[in-house]
Symmetry: C2
Subunit: 424 residues, 2 copies
């Protein structure tokens, strides 16, 4: 596949922006960038801006059916209602929810996501079908399942999806407060055995910090470190209440982080993700929307903007810039996935999105304000096409079809929810 | 005009949401809401959610050409560059910028806006032509114009637009640091003579508070109050650094306020707009995007969401809810404009927007989560039609035409900007 005459290419490689050149893709890899490249299967890109695909580094796609569910209640009431509904959730609800969320994400330029929810097998099935990349796995969470059962299901999941081109297995742990020490150590052994990443919510709320401090005498990241769970393969999500000495543990271990600004703000978990210090220490920090029930958008463009806004509000400084948001949503995201991606450069995976240069949000458009307009003004609606592994998995001509499919799923999910809401 | 079988109507009247009823509009006013209403000019609305139009209560439409201009520079450098460019700005640049901004706003469901920029006559012309409501007037700002000149131009503006159906004149004052005491008093006299509102940036930055305190011995709102400029006709914008005793002055005087969360965050002005206290005291607080150069979006849906997010982050509490954001963007906005609007109720102005109930962002959709999905998930792209004064000024069939017009303006503005950027 050749992308011909790309009006602009945001390479994410030393801030280089190219104009009017071609991109040649072979077997899912960017093979060449240059002028007058030849090949079959050409796409005319003179009206498009080409950008690496966006990675939604933390979400719960299976919760799509709960968008707008007890939204403005206090966190504890919301959680209670959500847990009650989730107790009776059938597999098909997760499947239709995941499908709606995945279609929504790829329409908005997301090429890969990291997920944590019940029945990841359903989400994996839909991901492979649509051709989006996903990191998935069963979730250790004592109130919902016996840890031995999760070990077994994770091993089955690895057997089924370990060699998939699109799915990367992950050891999912809900949190230190929803897992006993034994469960955490069991998950650690499983991680060591297979060497897939380990993904966990940490230091999201003051309550969690209090729980850790009173029960274990240390802060959450310290606690996980004591148990040996902080390694280069660990993905820590949230960290709004991380201390500076825990930050050193993260940096020293080369553990990875994910920031979910909108969710933290909406749920009023407060705190302060010290992004400047994290990036200064060379820590990889991905960006995630969190689930559709706590954001409630899955649009990574909006997430990039709010990320910069929140950090500027907290630091009283414009230190955090648009290009850093874009780096986190692309480059850092691909590091989390363990893939050579997030740059438009020879040898990188061909996960790309095309934006419409005529979009009113992107104008007035000049070489020097492209990144700024992408982060501060664009939305997922400016995406013309989403390419994963060199394959077009969404193009604007299919928008109506995608919306129809989501709407169909929505009807069925709403019907189930209406019936079950009465009982919670 | 009859809106037939509106799937849902968010009335903004005691949180009432109506289903499957009609709205009859006569001469720009909502005359009746009920079942099986008859009349000519019917619009089938079974697939739409009807909502009062959104008021962008503070912007600078003429700055549209500066979207993405020195965006990530420090505030002082950005301001310096902007002021330098503005010195040589011709009228046609303001006209084409205002036009692009207005088209963008009405596509995103804005039915009225309050503006502050050079050459408001150009913006007024475009507003009347497109049929959107606007509050406009020349700006007192000593470095740009002699105050007597602004008095003269404001009086001319009032003569031309005082009886307009769409334009409301306003006495625009840039700020206490860009106007001498004499200028402020001159503006006050002008306000008293004509009784139109007075609109001013106040307590936006720490620097401004320091300026006021060291020069006048009091805080900015206190200073304006001492000069007699805080009245029920005053609209105070920003207030990130307002003190609690100044808040009492605002409440006692029944002065009005505008909150611009995204702009405050993006420019890292920090501070804290004490919205909970303001609303508790019964103060009218509109919501504004600020100009396209400091946001950089003009989408009021996005602004509503970030408003709730910022307040929750600052208060560590979910006290501020989605319905309050919607109230501020509708009801409070219309109070600022001095119009009976912002509710879908007999006798209110027929400024309405229609949203597509099939939008993926609004789903799953139920009566009880409509407001939540509108505020936390929807964007201007979900707007199917924008109605002002009972006239459809935008409908989705015209989207391509609108985008083409904006793109045309963008080309011309970019050409001018490129030439003049070299000299600043």
């Amino acid at each position: 596949m050749i992308l011909k005459n790309c009006r602009y290419i945001v390479t994410q490689d030393n801030h280089r922006i190219l104009e009017n050149v071609d991109i040649r893709i072979e077997e899912g890899i960017i093979e060449e960038i240059g002028e007058k490249l030849d090949g079959v299967d050409k796409i005319r890109c003179q009206d498009y801006i080409v950008l690496p695909g966006l990675v939604n580094a933390h979400t719960h796609t299976g919760m799509w059916f709960l968008r707008g569910f007890y939204d403005d209640a206090e966190l504890s009431l919301w959680l209670k209602k959500v847990f009650e509904i989730e107790k009776s959730i059938p597999r098909w609800v997760v499947k239709l929810s995941s499908e709606a969320a995945i279609l929504e994400m790829i329409m908005c330029g997301t090429t890969a996501f990291i997920d944590m929810y019940h029945y990841p097998e359903e989400t994996a099935f839909v991901s492979e079908k649509t051709g989006v990349r996903a990191m998935l796995g069963p979730v250790f969470m004592d109130i919902f399942a016996d840890p031995e059962n999760i070990v077994k299901r994770t091993e089955e999941f690895i057997k089924t999806y370990g060699k998939s081109r699109y799915i990367t297995p992950v050891i999912n742990i809900h949190s230190i407060y929803n897992c006993s020490e034994e469960t955490l150590l069991r998950a650690k052994d499983l991680q060591a055995k297979y060497n897939y990443p380990l993904h966990i919510h940490v230091s999201e709320t003051r309550k969690e910090v209090y729980y850790s401090k009173t029960r274990y005498g240390v802060f959450p990241v310290e606690y996980l470190d004591k148990l040996g769970l902080i390694t280069a393969k660990t993905i820590l999500v949230h960290l709004g209440w991380i201390t500076n000495w825990e930050l050193d543990i993260v940096a020293r271990s080369n553990a990875k982080c994910v920031h979910c600004p909108v969710s933290n703000m909406k749920l009023a978990t407060a705190g302060f993700v010290p992004l400047r210090e994290m990036l200064d220490k060379g820590i990889t920090v991905g960006l995630g929307t969190d689930g559709p029930a706590s954001n409630n958008s899955l649009d990574m463009f909006r997430e990039m903007k709010v990320m910069v806004l929140l950090q500027r509000n907290n630091y009283w400084s414009v230190d955090i810039k648009a290009w850093q948001a874009l780096n986190m949503a692309t480059l850092h995201g691909y590091i989390l996935l363990g893939l050579k991606g997030g740059k438009i450069k020879k040898g990188y995976v061909a996960d790309l999105i095309l934006l419409d240069k005529k979009s009113f949000r992107l104008n007035p458009l000049r070489r020097e304000n492209i990144v700024s307009n992408i982060v501060y003004s664009a939305t997922g609606d400016d995406v013309v096409a989403t390419i994963v592994d060199g394959r077009i998995i969404y193009s604007r001509e299919k928008k109506a079809e995608f919306i129809e499919k989501i709407s169909e799923n929505s009807e069925k999910l709403n019907e189930w929810l209406r019936k079950h809401m009465e009982s919670v």
